[in-house]
């Protein structure tokens, strides 16, 4: 009798614990203060889980074929390996490389041209973009309202079954904010738990000398916009940030990407034109196209020998965060398969 009581108590406590949203976001000790205001909009596990369901669900696209994860795969550090530009429904091809998604809480503007000003409204862009998901947000809401699974997930996350676009967008953002990559060899070295090889050390010194002004540690990007001297691709004629600001000073400027997880995120650049890091470094040493908007440190190119390039690549390899890429909490929510099985 007594053990039955204890069992009942434990069950109730476990049930309540499962219902209560848990705040679990933690800033890596060596990272700066995030841009996202977690005090104003704290993360909780139920919203994060709903966001994760939505992120992996092709229900967001017009023909239910493409999900966020189609172009932002966890195994590619949420980029799209081997695809120069993004793919959408009906085999359509976009005009920019799907950027890797991590450390988004430290970014102020989103997309290669900074068109989006808040992570919560970012997913509206790919959902409605004709060459990506080509779907109307209202149709997405109609589809979700027909799903008992989503009704209960929205209720868990927001306290009622009313599905609105704001809730959907907030949930996706909450999941994306949990994608923190801070566990590469570099981070362990930074925190005194590991050490660089001689070659990595040489690469690190070269990095600090030539790359750190734009790809600032420890995020490996200032997340500002710069023209890195690429020759404009005549197929896309992409003027980058100028298309948003209409300011000629922004011509050919794109958001500086982080150098973390490069092993998982090739090809590189806003149009995915380079497949290998050696091609990227050759661009910076030999192929800079100067113009009035070129980034100041690149005006004369970066003088690098073949050995320098090998050393820099050794350093870049210490930025690959395997623990992040294979984190089960970032993957397809397999729990959903179980919940649906046999139904």
């Amino acid at each position: 009798m007594k053990s039955a009581k204890v069992f009942l108590m434990v069950s109730i406590l476990l049930f309540l614990a499962a219902q209560k949203p848990i705040s679990f976001w933690q800033k890596p000790p060596h990272f700066p203060k995030p841009t996202f205001d977690f005090k104003e909009k704290p993360l909780d596990s139920t919203k994060v889980f709903l966001g994760r369901m939505l992120f992996f669900d092709p229900i967001l696209s017009k023909d239910n074929s493409v999900s966020c994860a189609s172009c932002h795969s966890p195994y590619n550090a949420f980029a799209h390996t081997d695809h120069p530009v993004s793919h959408g429904i009906n085999d359509q091809i976009g005009n920019r490389n799907a950027p890797a998604l991590f450390n988004l809480a430290w970014q102020k503007l989103f997309m290669w041209d900074g068109a989006i000003n808040h992570i919560e409204v970012q997913s509206l862009a790919p959902i409605s973009q004709p060459k990506e998901m080509n779907e109307n947000i209202n149709t997405v809401l109609e589809k979700l309202k027909k799903s008992n699974l989503y009704k209960s997930a929205f209720k868990r996350a927001f306290g009622d079954t009313i599905i609105t676009s704001a809730k959907l967008l907030k949930a996706i953002a909450q999941f994306e904010l949990t994608l923190v990559s801070a566990n590469a060899k570099y981070d362990k070295v930074y925190l005194g738990k590991d050490s660089f090889t001689d070659q990595e050390k040489r690469g690190y010194n070269l990095f600090k000398q030539h790359c750190n002004s734009c790809h600032q540690e420890p995020l490996f990007s200032s997340y500002e916009f710069e023209n890195n001297g690429l020759k404009a691709d005549t197929t896309y004629n992409d003027y980058g940030r100028f298309l948003m600001s209409h300011n000629p000073k922004d011509s050919f400027k794109f958001k500086i990407p982080s150098l973390r997880n490069l092993a998982y995120t090739y090809p590189y650049m806003h149009d995915g034109r380079f497949k290998k890091l050696s091609e990227v470094l050759n661009h910076y040493s030999n192929d800079i196209k100067t113009s009035s908007t070129i980034a100041e440190p690149l005006k004369n190119g970066i003088p690098l020998t073949g050995n320098d390039k090998a050393d820099i690549i050794a350093l870049l390899n210490t930025l690959n965060d395997r623990a992040f890429v294979f984190n089960p909490a970032h993957q397809f929510p397999k729990e959903l398969l179980k919940a649906n099985e046999g139904k």
């Binding site: 808040h118 509206l124 409605s128 704001a166 907030k170």
Partner: protein, 215 residues
């Protein structure tokens, strides 16, 4: 009940925005004579923000919501509570969505991004949406699509409007689009759908459409 005793007695003030064209209330999808042609409006929507009543320069009351989406497809009134003995002689509001609100993430209610007033490819609200077609005497149809808005400088299209009025319980604000349509800079181009100089210029012209109805 005890609470009611402590709270000052309040009066309700109802404010309605009524779009008109050539002194006729504007209804969607109805043809109105326009020059030698006819014009039909499919959409006329705009945001009213931070609606406030003033007595000279003192704030008397403000609207319960920060923003209201006014739409010719829906008739609605905004209700404000004012202290029963308070006087007012001025109405102030914004036409559009201010920049702070525009960078605040996914919002609910009248600011819900699914209401067709939020740009998806670039963050920011459409302040005013006017979609109309002119049917020429030669049966040619010209569509006009004006999505005016944007919060980033130099194309921040937000307008501030201040109207003097007499104190009444029901205030009707006429949004007379006649002068806007007859302005030399309007209908010069048929599509404006992003923040740019034309969007700013037309927002400024549209802001003159608001007046206190004497009817």
């Amino acid at each position: 009940m005890l609470f009611n005793v402590l709270v000052q007695a309040q009066n309700s003030i109802s404010i309605k925005f009524e779009p008109t064209f050539k002194q006729v209330r504007l209804e969607p999808n109805v043809a109105y004579p326009y020059l030698s042609d006819s014009i039909q409006f499919q959409e006329l929507k705009f945001y009213i923000g931070y609606l406030q009543l003033y007595q000279d320069d003192s704030l008397v009351a403000y609207s319960p919501q920060t923003h209201y989406l006014i739409d010719i497809h829906q008739k609605q009134a905004i209700t404000l509570s004012i202290p029963s003995k308070a006087k007012f002689n001025q109405l102030r509001f914004q036409l559009g969505v201010d920049s702070i609100t525009s960078v605040s993430g996914a919002l609910e209610g009248d600011l819900d991004p699914s209401l067709g007033m939020y740009w998806t490819w670039q963050s920011g609200y459409i302040h005013t949406k006017i979609e109309a077609s002119i049917l020429g005497s030669n049966r040619n149809k010209t569509h006009f699509t004006y999505h005016l808005g944007g919060y980033q400088f130099p194309f921040n299209s937000l307008q501030t409007i201040q109207l003097s009025l007499d104190q009444t319980e029901t205030i009707k604000i006429e949004v007379d689009i006649t002068a806007f349509l007859e302005h030399k800079d309007v209908l010069k181009q048929s599509v404006i759908m992003s923040p740019k100089p034309a969007s700013l210029a037309l927002s400024q012209i549209f802001a003159y459409s608001f007046k206190v109805s004497q009817k």
